[in-house]
Symmetry: C2
Subunit: 319 residues, 2 copies
């Protein structure tokens, strides 16, 4: 394979192929000791997320461009959950010897595609050898107005979620089962190609009292909001939004669809609380409400209104 | 071992033990989806650096706190080379199952110590399982005045370096040889405990025409400056600054001290160019000059003034 400097030059070339962001704030991009962004008027929002082979993905699950785009989207989802606008990203890659130059090109084109889509240009990064593939993405966003935190949920708020739940976990289960099932492709795509809800996050600033992205599963992530806010929550399991055919495909794998929707991870939807009576600006689904106690606890009610036990503590990735 | 949320809470607690930075610009630290910094007046300088087990270090080389501090310092060195002031950092850790809770505490205390020393509080991060230990550090700095780049060196500039060269590579060789040698400890410490030259970087802004940190070795890093600046360089090998006993200890291992000083990596000194006649504000050592051609090439002259061949292309880490 090419040496590190040649690889960096190649990456720089591949990343520069797309159109530059409309209002470029990049004073200095890839190729120096560090990247430099022009001053921002808003607050700086920072997060880092790692996608590790055998923990977050297997290479058999998708092409490297798709896996790279997925890793980038997962990192961007944290900016969405803060109500921040993406400005730039850094990509640190640990590459095993099985990633040759052609494979690296594919991976980088996936990063480039995601960076373009989110208008978060990759301004720097790091290459290292290693025993297993990992893609660690740092995202830098700007918050001009208020930010969304986990700690502002109050008793009486309603609990909402964008999109549908459990689809990514079902897609992963389908990939692992590896036998053809009708309607499988939509769920597999949901696992492979998550979308960070940047637009919805921005809509929620100044409206939602708390927000988090659904990465570990609804119950676990909502319990994080509850713990940070000093409240509890009640979820109505009959209101959980799921995609068409979800229950049937889940059942075909012997999986409980309600549990998948409650505990499946990596949907990257936004989960947020709104003051009672507030119209949901994202068109999301109301699934429950915030209660005073017990603090940090999410209880779930079934079809008959009785509490149902949630078995899993939350999504633990696939290994 | 504790679960991820418990570990994050513990890390947050360990990191909060030190005194907060004097002028805190942290609006929101560890514990939400992302960290938030108050707006900066200067430009934002960003870099990421990974320290990977079996590539950049072995656990046998030092305690985990020392290895973590080293990883943090290596990342900060990129801010030094830009003439930026550190403001914050993010730490993404991939932890193999051999890192128990006690080991993680040790590692985090090393990060905390480094963050304190550089006044770069760790405001966020990521934990993941994985097969091999890696510590990926994102650093965020601020540049209020001009920045130092690699691309401004001009014909006639003098080439300077802070501190001494080759010491870290010699220390690594001593660790690998593992037989007791007089004066070994100082060089081993040089490998284990690098220091990012933040103060010197700030002194050089507005004065130096180009700057880089010595991570891959003098010749390789200087050739990067030359390539970026469209110039060449000539180095006088008799002027290379080295620590006391360097040549003797190198010879005891059968290593050529001049080659070690020219090609040894991870000294994290600053290498910079100054217009002819400019006093070096850092008290560094003049070691050569910038020439018009050949572009991107560093030639080295020996004791007799004749060119000497540099065997190694540069430091390739230890594996």
């Amino acid at each position: 394979v090419a040496d590190e400097h040649t690889r960096i030059a190649r990456i720089r070339e591949l990343l520069s192929r797309g159109a530059p962001p409309s209002a470029s704030s990049i004073a200095l991009g890839i190729g120096d000791d560090a990247a430099v962004l022009e001053p921002m008027t808003g607050r700086i929002v920072l997060s880092v997320d790692a996608s590790v082979e055998h923990v977050h993905f297997e290479r058999a699950f998708a092409n490297l461009d798709v896996l790279a785009d997925r890793a980038f989207s997962a990192a961007l989802s944290d900016l969405a959950a803060m109500g921040a606008t993406p400005r730039a990203a850094l990509s640190a890659l640990i590459l095993p010897s099985t990633i040759g130059d052609a494979e690296l090109d594919t991976l980088v084109l996936g990063l480039a595609r995601a960076a373009q889509r989110y208008e978060a240009p990759i301004v720097g990064g790091n290459l290292s050898r290693g025993g297993e593939l990992s893609m660690t993405t740092t995202v830098i966003g700007e918050a001009r107005g208020s930010i969304l935190t986990r700690s502002g949920a109050r008793e009486g708020d309603s609990v909402h979620v964008t999109g549908t739940l459990g689809g990514a976990a079902l897609g992963l289960a389908l990939l692992q089962a590896a036998n053809a099932t009708e309607h499988a492709e939509a769920f597999i795509a949901r696992f492979r190609e998550p979308h960070a809800r940047i637009t919805e996050g921005l809509m929620l600033t100044g409206v939602a009292t708390a927000c988090i992205d659904v990465s570990d599963g609804l119950v676990q992530d909502l319990s994080q909001v509850c713990a940070a806010s000093g409240v509890g929550a009640e979820i109505d399991s009959t209101r959980l939004p799921t995609a068409p055919h979800f229950a049937r495909v889940a059942a075909s794998l012997g999986r409980d669809p309600v549990e998948l929707a409650l505990c499946g991870g990596e949907d990257y939807e936004l989960l947020y609380t709104l003051p009672a009576g507030t119209r949901d600006p994202t068109g999301g689904t109301a699934i429950g409400r915030i209660v005073a106690a017990p603090v940090g606890t999410v209880s779930v009610r079934g079809v008959d209104g009785q509490p149902i036990a949630v078995r899993a503590r939350g999504h633990q990735h696939f290994r």
